[in-house]
């Protein structure tokens, strides 16, 4: 078991009233899972992603990441958790424009306190895994959108995280690049990676082993309890 969520609720104050964005969400992710969470915009999928990614905290409910109770973690511990256990892939890549592909990929290792030579070695390895061994010294503005997203995926896997969280990974790509990225996820999953992806695109979601749906803050489907 990598993570488990029990009765997770998230409320946002909107003026005087309170909007309940997530309603009693239950979710568990085990090693080797490839889950897609589908839902239209405003369904609460981004909020769920933020909570899973330890960027946000739930209003109520229990969230265990490994053995750790997220509610009891301090900011510093959450930062370390994100650094070592989670790999983020964003819709808009979020690469640092002034750094080379290699330095972008090595960034999480820098914050993890890994030595420079080791960082470079592991970043190169990660870039090879996403098929960009020949683009090591390119900066993001010299790469295509699909290549950028693959650099971002390399950044997500460089620290060997427990889970890869992908937020609309193909949302900013043309269909051909999108397909390449999905193939890459497929390969990574076959190599044993655990992937959790949110999307609104059924074609994308169908690559996953398990598809779950979220609507108005309620998560349904998959092998989870209804």
């Amino acid at each position: 078991m990598i993570l488990s969520m029990t009765d997770i609720c998230k409320d946002y104050p909107m003026g005087k009233s309170v909007t309940q964005v997530l309603k009693n969400v239950n979710l568990s992710v085990s090693e080797g899972d490839y889950i897609a969470i589908m839902g239209p915009s405003g369904s609460g999928k981004t909020t769920l992603m933020n909570i899973i990614g330890c960027l946000d905290v739930p209003t109520s409910g229990e969230y265990l990441f490994g053995e750790k109770d997220i509610k009891k973690c301090k900011k510093k511990q959450l930062a370390d958790l994100r650094n070592k256990k989670i790999g983020f892939v964003f819709q808009s890549f979020n690469l640092l424009p002034k750094l080379t592909a290699l330095d972008n990929v090595a960034l999480p290792l820098l914050y993890g306190g890994v030595r420079r030579s080791e960082r470079r070695r592991r970043a190169k390895e990660a870039l090879e895994r996403v098929g960009l061994a020949d683009r090591v010294d390119y900066r993001p503005d010299q790469l295509s959108g699909g290549q950028c997203q693959r650099v971002a995926i390399a950044r997500a896997i460089v620290g060997n995280p427990d889970v890869i969280l992908a937020d609309e990974p193909t949302g900013a790509l043309d269909s051909q690049s999108g397909a390449q990225v999905m193939d890459l996820f497929h390969t990574l999953h076959e190599q044993g990676a655990t992937i959790l992806m949110i999307t609104h695109d059924r074609n994308v979601a169908e690559h996953a082993e398990t598809i779950m749906h979220i609507k108005d803050g309620v998560l349904t489907g998959g092998d989870q309890d209804e």
């Binding site: 960027l55 930062a79 650094n83 914050y111």
Partner: protein
């Protein structure tokens, strides 16, 4: 840490114009301070040099009446004060730190001295046989005073090299006869001081302050003083200390000894001229006005600091997404804080370095244009650079804290 500094340099370099404009406030402030400090230090060192001279280590000891210097020219020896004898001087030489001692009489503007039809205007000194040694004179040509000159009351004179050129019009003075108060004296030698320290004179005030030392001098044996001037005038004593550091203590010891042994009553006393004190008095005068200037320059540093804070806040806003991503992939808040603090510090450090460079340049330029003396103070430069770096850290704190506390979700969504 080094990664941060490297990245900070990159950041500063990638916005050259913006960084330079941000630094400008710091550069101007630091440059102004360095210019002022260099000029103050230069002025102070010049005052010290002019007053003390470089290396002669001589201290003048003069007779004081009720605490003020008693005019020794044209007046008789006051009652209760006796003449300084050769025995007294040899006692002075035994004092701690005293290398040589000599007594003399003088006129700072002697009249009645002629070479042919040319009148001499300058100083006349009646000296004992130790005076040249005490004041570090060497003989350029001819000879010095011999024992016979003193015992046989020979009317001989020795002139300073400046007099040789001014009064004798370039001819060799040795062997020529000059007239002092209607008495003929034979010039036997030309001397000059070994450590020639020409006082730097920039204005009339300086001229009056240092002119006594810069005018020419004619020396005669003190035994001949009575021949020309006819009465027993008080003497001054000059001692030469072994080292510059001993000048003050040796001078005071000699003055105290003279007061104790030569004077009866409390009206008169011998006092060593404390040149260091005189120098520091003159220096503190210029210091007070310049301290105010430094405060004004400090205001420009404050303005520069605010400029740095402003640009750092802009930079934080511009890089909100970058900060959000860094936090998301596990950078701790402290790390973001240090990144921005380092960047601000690097910015002002460079400003400080450029400011010091500009300040030194400006000081030398002022010196060329206006003739003000310059002395670069290394500690002042180091402090200035350190202080400007500190300004970066202080004014970078607010933006850096703001960056480190960004909410990563909102930051990542920032356009």
């Amino acid at each position: 840490m080094f990664e941060n500094i490297g990245l900070a340099f990159q950041g500063v370099w990638s916005h050259k114009l913006r960084s330079f404009l941000t630094m400008l406030g710091i550069i101007i402030g630091i440059a102004a301070i360095i210019t002022i400090v260099s000029t103050i230090k230069g002025t102070n060192e010049q005052i010290k040099k002019n007053l003390i001279g470089s290396g002669t280590n001589t201290v003048q000891i003069s007779l004081n009446r009720d605490g003020n210097e008693y005019d020794l020219q044209w007046s008789a020896l006051p009652e209760g004060v006796r003449t300084v004898t050769e025995e007294d001087l040899s006692e002075l030489r035994k004092l701690e730190g005293v290398k040589e001692a000599s007594a003399y009489r003088y006129r700072s503007y002697a009249d009645g001295i002629f070479y042919g039809n040319t009148a001499y205007s300058g100083a006349l000194y009646g000296i004992d046989s130790h005076y040249f040694a005490a004041n570090n004179y060497i003989i350029n040509s001819g000879r010095g005073f011999t024992a016979d000159d003193y015992t046989k009351y020979r009317k001989t004179a020795i002139v300073e090299s400046t007099v040789a050129s001014s009064l004798f019009n370039g001819e060799d003075p040795v062997g020529r006869t000059i007239e002092i108060m209607s008495e003929p004296y034979t010039v036997v030698g030309v001397v000059s001081q070994v450590v020639v320290n020409e006082p730097v004179i920039n204005n009339l005030q300086d001229y009056y302050m240092y002119s006594a030392e810069s005018g020419g001098t004619i020396f005669i044996p003190d035994v001949c003083w009575d021949i020309s001037y006819r009465y027993d005038e008080p003497q001054r004593v000059v001692i030469r200390a072994k080292t510059t550091d001993e000048m003050a203590t040796a001078g005071k010891a000699a003055a105290d000894w003279l007061s104790e042994n030569l004077i009866q009553g409390n009206t008169y006393a011998y006092k060593a001229s404390d040149l260091l004190e005189q120098a520091s008095n003159l220096q503190s005068l210029s210091q007070t006005t310049n301290n105010q200037l430094i405060w004004i320059a400090g205001i420009s540093l404050l303005v520069g600091g605010i400029g740095v804070m402003n640009i750092m806040l802009v930079s934080v806003t511009e890089r909100t997404r970058e900060i959000g991503l860094k936090i998301a992939i596990g950078a701790r808040g402290r790390r973001i804080l240090w990144q921005f603090l380092t960047e601000a510090a690097v910015l002002t450090l460079m400003g400080g370095l450029l400011g010091v460079g500009a300040g030194i340049g400006l000081a030398y330029m002022l010196s060329n244009v206006m003739g003000t003396p310059v002395a670069i103070s290394i500690p002042a430069c180091v402090i200035a650079v350190a202080f400007s770096t500190l300004i970066g850290i202080i004014f970078g704190l607010v933006p850096a804290v703001k960056a480190s506390r960004l909410n990563p979700i909102e930051a990542l969504r920032h356009e």
